[in-house]
Amino acid sequence: MSMQTNGREITMSEAINEAIREEMGRDENVVLWGEDVGAAGGVFKVTKGILDRFGPERVFDTPISEAGIVGLAVGAAMTGLRPVVEVMFGDFLTLAMDQLVNQAAKIHYMSGGTFRVPMVVRTTLGAGRRTAAQHSQSLHAWVAHIPGLKVVLPSSPYDAKGLLKTAIRDNNPVVFFEDKISYQRKGPVPDPDQDYTISFGQADVKREGSDLTIIATSSMVHMALTAASKLSEDGIQAEVIDPRTLVPLDSQTLIDSVKKTSRCIVVDQGYQSFGVTAEIAALVAEQAFYALDVPVRRLGAVDVPIPFSPSLEDLTIPTVESIVVLAHEMVAG
C-alpha cells in the first residue's frame, strides 16, 4: 500500500538522501561514514548536504579502507551506534568481505544472541556505465548467500526511501544495493513530513498480468516493465514482481503469481551461474512445478568479467529485447 505522494517526484538519489536525513534526525545514534560521503557528498552525490546538516561528529570522510570502514561499523554497532556506511562500488565489497561475512553476519548467532550488529552497508551494483570489470559487477548474491545478513535491492525512489529507513531501524547488518544507473531516475515519493517505511520480505507486484510472471530485481524491474508494455501490445499480459529484499525473500508472492500465470522468467543483473536467478528458479521449481506450462527461464549477466567497450558491455546484461524474445518463446510454448 503506497502513501499519498501529492504529485511530488524526486530522484532515487534524493530519496536515499532523505531517508538518511530523516533517520539521523530521528535517532542520534545513527552515524554516517565512508569514502567522500561528507564534504564531497559522495561520488554519486547521494549524501550531499548531510555533513552540513548533522556536523562532523556524526558524518565522516574515511580513508580508502573498505575493510576498516565496514569493520569499524561492526564494533560501533555492537556498542550502541547505528552506523550507515558506504562502500562506493559493490565491487569493493570484496575488500570488506571478512568483516561482513565472518564478523557482522555471525556475531549475533555466535554470541548466543547477546550482541546485536545494527548497521547498514550502502553500496552499488549494475553495469552499463562503461566502467569495465572492477566497477560494474552486481555481487548481491555473494552476501545473500550468508545467513545473518539482510539484502535489499530497491528499484524506485519510493521503495528506496522506505526500505532504507527500515534498514536503518533494523537490528541486523543490512546490505543495501543501489543501481548506479538508477540514481537519477525520478518517481513519486511522499512529502518528507510523512514518515513511512516498507517492511522487509514483502514483494511488490509492479504490474499485474495473467500470462507470464517476470520476477525482476533492482533496475531490471524497469526493463521488465518496459518489456511488459511491449508484450501487452502483442496480446501477452505479463505480471512483473519485484522481491525488493532478497533476504528475507517473500517467496509466497512469487509462487502465488507463478501458479496464476503458469510461466516464469527471473531477471537479475548478477551473474547467471550460481546466482539470484538460480535461487529463485529453484524455489519456483520446488514449489510451483506442477503449475508450470514451460520450464522456468533465467536472464542474468553473461558469465564474463564485464567488458569495457560499449559494443561488448551491451551484450552482458539482460535487455528489454531479451526479455520480450524469451517471453514470446515461452508463451508460444
Partner: protein
C-alpha cells in the same frame, strides 16, 4: 598531576598484587584443565591455550574498568577470564552446553560477554582489530570515557586490516589500545621469519604512541597498560603495546612435537621467565607473603575449577529448536 588512568603498580598494594596472582593461577589451571579435558575428548572441536602468556591479559585487564571493552583472539580464554568471565560458563561453552556464554553456539574461539565488556574472541586472525577500533570510535562519539583494548598475536601483524584500523585510530585519535602478544610463533612458523622490521615501528610509523614491555612480567604489563589507559582517557588517542611473551605448549592440541623450536628454548622460558613464578617471588621476597598463603590460593582455584567443570558437565546441551534462534536479532 592527577591522571585519568589507574594507579601504577608501585601504588596498588599487596592486596591487588595478590589478586593478580590469583587471576594468573586461575588462567593457568583453567588452561591445564582444558588440555586434560580435550585429551579425554570432553571438549569438541579445537582449542588453543595460552599457558605461559598469563601476564599479558591479567596485567592489561587490571588496568581496565568493567565497562571498558576488549576484543580477543582464537587463543582467548585468558582474555575472557581476566576481564571477569565466570569459569563455569566458560567451561559450559567449551563443552557446547546451552548454559555457556554463547548458548553453545560459539565455543572456545568465540566467547563473548557484554556484562564484562568482552566483545568477543575471534577465530579470524586480525578479525577483531577493526571491531575494537569501532568500539573505541563509538565510545568517543557517545562520550562515555571507555577505552577499547584489542588483543592480537604476532600472527596478526601481517594482516592488512591492522594497518587500516591503526590508521583510523591515529587520524581520529581513538581511545583504543592495540596489544600485540608476541609469543614468537605464528602457529608453527617463527615470527621473525615472516615479519619484516621492528614490530614497534609499525605503531610509530602511524604516529601512534608505542611501548614495548616484558610480557612475562605482569607488573611491567600492568604499568604499560596504565599509561596507555591514561593516554586514551585523556583524549590523546591510541597506543600500540608490544608484549614479548611465550606459549609454553603447542599452537593447538594437535601440535605436540613442536619441531619448529627446541626443547632447550622452551625450558629457558619456562624456568627463568614463568610469569606466575615471577610474581610469586615478588610477593614472598618483597611483600613477605607466606608460601602457604600462595599455595592456598592455588588449591582454592583448583577446587573451584573442579566444581565448575562438574556443573558445566551436568548442564544440558542446546535443544534442536536452538538451531534457528539468533540468526537474526528481533
Amino acid at each position: 598531576m592527577k591522571t585519568k588512568g589507574p594507579k601504577p603498580s608501585a601504588e596498588i598494594g599487596v592486596e591487588k598484587l595478590t589478586d593478580m596472582y590469583g587471576q594468573m593461577v586461575t588462567i593457568r589451571l583453567f588452561e591445564e584443565r582444558v588440555v586434560e579435558l580435550y585429551r579425554r575428548a570432553q571438549i569438541p572441536g579445537i582449542a588453543h591455550v595460552s599457558i605461559g602468556q598469563e601476564a599479558v591479559p591479567v596485567g592489561i585487564c587490571n588496568a581496565l574498568r568493567t565497562n571498558d571493552y576488549i576484543t580477543s583472539t582464537h587463543r582467548g580464554h585468558a582474555h575472557c577470564l581476566a576481564k571477569g568471565a565466570d569459569i563455569t560458563q566458560m567451561f559450559a561453552e567449551l563443552f557446547g552446553k546451552v548454559t555457556g556464554y554463547c548458548r553453545g553456539k560459539g565455543g572456545s574461539m568465540h566467547i563473548a560477554n557484554p556484562a564484562t565488556g568482552n566483545l568477543g574472541a575471534n577465530a579470524i586472525v586480525g578479525g577483531s582489530i577493526p571491531i575494537a577500533t569501532g568500539a573505541a570510535l563509538s565510545a568517543k562519539l557517545r562520550k562515555t570515557n571507555q577505552v577499547a583494548v584489542c588483543f592480537f598475536g604476532d600472527g596478526a601483524l601481517n594482516q592488512g586490516v591492522l594497518l587500516e584500523s591503526m590508521n583510523f585510530a591515529s587520524i581520529w585519535r581513538l581511545p583504543v589500545i592495540y596489544v600485540c602478544e608476541n609469543n614468537q610463533y605464528g602457529e608453527y612458523t617463527p615470527t621473525k621469519r615472516v615479519t619484516a622490521g621492528d614490530i614497534e615501528m609499525r605503531g610509530k610509523a602511524l604516529d601512534i604512541r608505542t611501548a614495548v614491555a616484558d610480557g612475562m612480567d605482569v607488573l611491567a604489563v600492568y604499568d604499560a597498560a596504565c599509561e596507555a589507559v591514561d593516554h586514551a582517557k585523556s583524549g590523546k588517542g591510541p597506543s600500540f603495546l608490544v608484549m614479548e611473551t611465550y606459549r609454553f605448549i603447542g599452537h593447538g592440541m594437535s601440535d605436540v612435537d613442536r619441531a619448529y623450536r627446541t626443547r632447550e628454548e622452551e625450558q629457558e622460558w619456562q624456568r627463568a621467565r614463568d610469569p606466575i613464578d615471577r610474581l610469586r617471588t615478588t610477593l614472598i621476597e618483597e611483600w613477605r607473603l607466606k608460601q602457604s598463603a600462595l599455595d592456598a590460593i592455588s588449591s582454592g582455584v583448583a577446587k573451584q575449577i573442579d566444581i565448575s567443570v562438574e556443573a558445566a558437565q551436568k548442564a544440558p546441551l542446546p535443544a534442536a529448536e536452538e538451531l534457528m534462534k539468533h540468526v537474526y536479532a528481533d
